[in-house]
Amino acid sequence: MIKQERMQVVKQQEIAKHIFELTVQGELANEMAEPGQFVHIRVADSFEPLLRRPISVASIDMEASQFTMIYRAEGRGTGLLSEKKAGDLLDILGPLGHGFPVEEAQKKAYLIGGGIGVPPLYELAKQLNERGIETVHILGFESKQAVFYEDKFRELGDTHIATVDGSHGTQGFVTHILNELPSDFDTYYSCGPTAMLEAVQWAYPQKKGFLSYEQRMGCGIGACFACVCRTTKSETDYIKVCSDGPVFPAGVVIS
């Protein structure tokens, strides 16, 4: 069920350049259903900034009623978010949207992420591994300084890193790595820039895939029609990233 709660900040730290890891605690954490869902955060009590910010859930700790997010502090809202300290309260609405369907993977899954699209893949990897699925992680970043969670992913499975400037791992994009890897997986899951999602879809037209999309949002719950995408399923309708997504099966979204 969707809840709005003033959750308590448990921990916040910068884990890569401008990349923050933020853990919060509260009842809302117990509502989390799927990896790939997101929450909508009000970063200040004032009207400026006004709108909530959508941030994906990167890992869930049901026992502690906590979850963790990873985000890049770039604009005004995420900048303010990065100033929150342990003990502060944070107005969070969630969990929102539909995440990655873990039950769709059979044996081996590719998890393909780019930049701040990487975080939701971590909880996904955890849950897939719990189900006995082998996960291979192909993660792309700008540069070495922007890389995070490499070790954590390694603990869960084979992990390949690409950086645009070549300062770490393979130089180039995740697709450069994908080209070198066997296609012996049954399902892929991907989150990252739209161009990356497109490339991944093109690379594996025959495979079952699930992609997580981004759009600028208003309400975050499906009421305002801000976050729509055209879809192959209908000429006369859109799908909403916030409530129909953010995760869609490959081939559904026209971007």
Partner: protein, 304 residues
């Protein structure tokens, strides 16, 4: 006991608070969060004759204490709204105000006639002020003569009272209000959004795909309040006021300025529980201010 009820043409409201059109869809999403029967009324998303896909994305952009939107009247069309959305809403004990939009007078008339016959539609809100569509919308709301004639045409076919939604993007809002009064409007809703723009500073490109968008939220409250005050001073029509309402004191301000009821738009995105919260706080706030009923407060600023 504080009396929150409000009687307006076609509308016997439990309380003066309702979500504004376009900020609440057709109610389904917010119904997951609270019981819609608590609301004074619901203004549903604009309905047009045909399905509308609206504008490309990005459709929203944040601004200082406000936001721009250019949804472009996306809606499933008259048939689906009348056949699915409105019947679904019948499970709640809440009057619906149907927001009607179109490109031509004929469009408005067709939607108004059909949708006003739905059992739970107690009033129409004629959107002559949408800034985000190329044809129709705002062009009906900026010329008094055009506004008057459209009002007449809609009034002729509607089986429920008709409220006209005014645009703030005009030199003289009172002249438009008077024109729709002459045209036979039963009430006014105001204001729609102010036309605005935001750039991506890095690229110099407008962020909204439609280039311009409608500005809403706390930033526009002073403009909305001024217009409600002026229109209530110069016409006899009841007003449903809106523009930047986020809390109970904003509601008091709009009532004081002359609105009989108040709609909440953008604030639903910031706090999805804002409407029931305000409704819950109203009795105590009225009491603190020395009022026993909402009605006593209406137009207070004019009597001082």
């Amino acid at each position: 006991m504080t009396d929150l009820t409000v009687e307006l043409p076609g509308l016997d409201l439990k309380n003066p608070i309702m979500p504004a059109s376009g900020c609440f869809g057709f109610g389904k999403e917010y119904a997951q969060l609270y019981d819609l029967s608590q609301l004074g009324a619901i203004m549903i998303k604009a309905t047009t004759v045909e399905t509308r896909l609206g504008n490309p994305t990005p459709r929203v952009a944040e601004t200082a204490s406000g936001m721009l939107n250019a949804i472009g009247l996306q809606n499933p069309g008259l048939e689906k709204v009348a056949g699915q959305e409105l019947p679904w809403l019948e499970q709640y004990d809440v009057p619906i105000i149907a927001n009607v939009a179109g490109t031509t007078t004929e469009d408005y008339v067709e939607v108004a006639k059909a949708i006003s016959e739905a059992p739970n539609v107690h009033a129409l809100e004629i959107n002559i002020s949408c800034p985000n569509v190329k044809l129709g919308g705002i062009t009906f709301g900026t010329d008094p003569d055009v506004a008057r004639e459209l009002t007449r045409a809609v009034k002729e076919v509607s089986s429920v009272p008709v409220y006209i939604k005014l645009s703030p993007n005009v030199t003289d809002i009172v002249s438009i209000a008077k024109a729709v009064e002459e045209g036979g409007a039963d009430g006014i809703t105001m204001i729609n959004t102010l036309l605005g723009m935001r750039m991506d500073t890095k690229t110099g490109r407008p962020i909204i795909a439609n280039i311009t968008g409608g500005l809403s939220g706390p930033a526009i409250k002073p403009v909305a309040l001024r217009m409600v005050y002026e229109v209530s001073k110069h016409t006899k029509l009841p007003i449903i006021g809106m523009g930047g309402v986020t809390n109970v004191d904003d509601v008091i301000d709009f009532l004081s300025a002359g609105a009989s009821a108040v709609a909440v738009g953008t604030a639903n995105f910031v706090n999805p529980f804002v409407c029931p919260e305000i409704i819950g706080q109203l009795p105590e706030r009225l009491h603190e201010l020395g009022f026993d009923s909402v009605k006593e407060l209406v137009g207070r600023s004019h009597r001082l």
